[in-house]
Amino acid sequence: MVEWTEEERSIINGIFANMNYEDIGPKALSRCLIVYPWTQRYFSSFGNLYSPETIKANPQIAAQGITVVHGLDRAMKNMDNIKAAYTDLSILHSEKHHVDPDNFRLLGDCLTIVIAAKMGRNFTPDVHAAWQKFLNVVVSALGRQYH
């Protein structure tokens, strides 16, 4: 069981309350595909991923990015049992999409960097620590159902 302090809950809720999903989602996913190009293997049906410019302009990638950050809502709303809340998402990623779980960490790192750019100085070490703890739990839950 993961223990959250009141401060940590407040930090995580605050990040989501102030998040522009339509902005952050596409930025995080496209950054991941650019910085870690091997992750493109899961998006071969998404059209043109030829260069950073086309990746950033790709509407299917943008839509998927928004879907992903909304998926994080589920964890935020179920912080006391993220593992259970993510059971079917974990099965989906392993059985249907066959995603190497290490990719969750890579996307998480890109998401952190995009949020840091948005929050600037407000992304203090304590906020960063709470966010990283949250991501660690999410990434672990997503990888849970893998054979």
């Binding site: 496209s30 910085v35 950033k56 840091a116 948005k118 929050m119 992304f123 070490p125």
Partner: protein, 143 residues
Amino acid sequence: MSLNAKDKTIIRDFFKKISTRNEEIGNEALSRMLTVYPQTKSYFAHWKDLSPGSEPVKRHGVLIMNGVFDGVSKLDDLIGGLLDLSELHAFMLRIDPVNFKIFTHCILVVMSMILGEEFTPEIHLSVDKFLAQLSLALAERYR
């Protein structure tokens, strides 16, 4: 994942642009690492104060960033240019190389924090590659 000509141009230009902020970046990155990844504190048990922005943290942050900037000047032969630093890390400091990845991530987060949109995915890519190569050079003499 070695550096191509485009990476080297991006890296040289970028680090020249941020050269006046190395103290700030070093301090922030190290403070952050100790807070976000508390297991890294194990290497600094001999410091009196491990809190973000404390004197030892600030001083050490600068030291590390100077090393990173030095790496930029040795871009064409990182392994050769960093042999002494590698020996220091291998035989004296003996820091587990997994921590180089952790610290690299903290540097990237700080760069993003202070530069915002200017820290584009393209720059992020080249800097990440550079820091990975730097980490490899640092670990060269480990075994």
